[in-house]
């Protein structure tokens, strides 16, 4: 492990220890925050008892659906938009201001349209993630060096061969960025949606625990979501490093 990783670990551990100390000594009221160790213990007991199974299954399946939809449809849309410059000029202003729109205001609207079920959540996760994938795909295709397209022609590749053997591999670092963002945004969209308006999933469980003044459960779940975000990020980061290692200068 590198020195930076060690220091990072120490910083996070120190912060947790600090919170533990403040809460144990009563410097922070238990009504505001409970000790991190208690969060972990309670989270573990919830795992053991299976109390989280239903919520986890619901959230994860929603995230997975939103993620898969954003990646496949976002990628396809990116390919199409890139191939049609006229369409691209139309869509550009939309993409440029896309993430300026506070999406969560659409929740009520989506509930009105889809009804109170999982689809408004998936729709928001999808709407959030797909644009990132479209933008990343366009970026990647724009940055395929022209000379590689010429290489494809010199080797007399067909259109399909050119796409799969040259263009996609060349664009893959950008596509991976799109994948990462799409996952993060689906995660945010679904959990936040559950928290605000739905009747199930991890997000809802946090809101429910909050309303019921069940701080233990609430904080255990927050810890879970936090850990999940960290683990997800770290895993994607490692995977990306592995993929890109060969392509980076030694």
């Amino acid at each position: 492990m590198s020195r930076a990783s060690l220091v990072r670990l120490a910083v996070v551990a120190g912060f947790l220890l600090f919170l533990e100390l403040l809460t144990r000594t009563g410097a922070i009221d238990r009504l505001v925050l409970i000790p991190p160790s208690e969060m972990a213990v309670h989270l573990w007991s919830m795992f053991r008892s299976g109390a989280l199974d239903a919520a986890m299954a619901e959230s994860f399946s929603n995230i997975a659906i939103a993620f898969l939809l954003s990646v496949t449809l976002g990628f396809a849309a990116g390919l199409i938009i890139h191939a049609l410059p006229r369409l691209r000029r139309l869509v550009d202003p939309l993409l440029a201001s896309y993430y300026a729109v506070p999406f969560f205001v659409f929740y009520p609207l989506l509930i009105a349209i889809f009804g109170l079920n999982r689809w408004p959540l998936i729709a928001i996760g999808f709407a959030f993630g797909a644009a990132a994938m479209v933008i990343a795909t366009l970026n990647g295709l724009d940055r395929v060096p022209r000379v590689l397209r010429k290489v494809a022609r010199v080797h007399r590749l067909g259109r399909g061969e050119e796409i799969f053997l040259v263009i996609l591999p060349a664009a893959s670092p950008h596509l991976f960025t799109g994948l990462k963002l799409a996952l993060a945004y689906s995660f945010i969209g679904v959990l936040a949606g559950e928290f605000i308006l739905s009747g199930g999933g991890l997000g809802y469980s946090i809101a429910y625990a909050y309303d019921a003044f069940d701080n233990q459960t609430m904080y255990a779940l927050m810890l879970f979501v936090l850990t999940l975000a960290v683990v997800l990020n770290a895993a994607l980061h490692l995977w990306e490093q592995r993929l890109l290692r060969r392509r980076r200068r030694a």
Binding site: K150, R153, L157, R246
Partner: protein, 294 residues
């Protein structure tokens, strides 16, 4: 020169091939011109020609010209990568249109290695696409790897190599397909002078061994004069040939040819033709070509 050249000939085991000269026509350009719409507003930019060019089988031709004169466009037109606005290109008697003909290899100025493939796989890329048998691929790639001196790098990735080594990979990838016409677009443009000279030697060796026709685009006059049988000197945009200079070098030669008196004379001659054109390309008037300042 004769002594060292003869030695080299013996060492390279070459000399089996006929001296370049009025042999078979390999590729022909007739009335080639290229213009494209200007980037801003109306009008067209007249980039190249009209020009004619005959390339003979087995010759080594270099093209030099001021920057922006359409050298690259010329090469891409011959390769079938760019369609000319007027005129025709033929290769081995057939018209080149829209596709790169079989038997033509191109080495580009930019780094054209596929960064996601190892050196070995990069070189095998074309062979595999052409559907060669695995055994055949292995034998030919291994040969190209050792020919280009890439033996200890076969398993590494392009990003870990220097610019010169990466260009060797691209040359090997072209070579392995046994092209009959090799087009090189300033392949050594990004390399330092010593590496360029050595790569030039490799190119001559490759030329002798493969018996291919070579067209080399270069901005370095001395490189063109050193390597080629014929040097085409182009005018400022729109590029046309203002002179075709025969160097008269023996077939077995290497970079030590720069010691020859004839080398200096030919280089000076080409520069005298090119100087006024280069000034035009820079947007400056010719000062009459009469020496330096007082």
């Amino acid at each position: 020169m004769a002594a060292s050249a003869e030695e080299d000939k013996a060492r390279a085991g070459g000399g089996a091939r006929a001296q370049p000269g009025p042999s078979a026509l390999h590729a022909q350009l007739k009335g080639i011109a290229k213009s494209y719409p200007a980037a801003e507003g109306h009008g067209v930019v007249h980039a190249l020609g009209p020009l004619d060019l005959d390339l003979y089988a087995g010759e080594f031709m270099a093209v030099v010209g001021p920057s922006g004169c359409g050298k690259t466009t010329l090469l891409e037109t011959i390769a079938g990568l760019t369609a000319p606005s007027a005129g025709t290109v033929s290769f081995e008697g057939r018209e080149v249109k829209g596709r790169v003909p079989e038997g033509v290899g191109v080495v580009f100025q930019e780094d054209a290695c596929l960064p996601w493939l190892s050196v070995w796989d990069n070189i095998a890329f074309g062979l595999r696409r052409a559907g060669a048998a695995a055994e055949d691929v292995r034998a030919r790639v291994d040969y190209a790897v050792s020919f280009m001196g890439l033996g200890s790098f076969a398993g590494t990735y392009p990003a870990q190599l220097s610019g010169g080594m990466r260009q060797r990979v691209c040359i090997a990838r072209t070579l392995v397909l046994e092209p009959r016409l090799i087009l090189l677009d300033e392949p050594f443009g990004a390399l330092d002078q010593q590496t360029r000279l050595l790569m030039g030697d490799e190119l001559l060796r490759l030329w002798r061994e493969t018996k291919a026709t070579i067209l080399l685009i270069t901005h370095a006059i001395d490189e063109g004069v050193m390597l080629a049988d014929r040097v085409g000197v182009m005018s400022a945009r729109p590029g046309r040939f203002i002179e075709l200079v025969e160097t008269g070098w023996p077939q077995a030669r290497d970079s030590r040819i720069v010691e020859e008196e004839a080398f200096g004379r030919l280089t000076a001659h080409v520069w005298s033709k090119l100087r006024a054109e280069s000034m035009k390309a820079l947007g400056r008037e010719d000062d009459g070509g009469g020496g330096g300042r007082p």
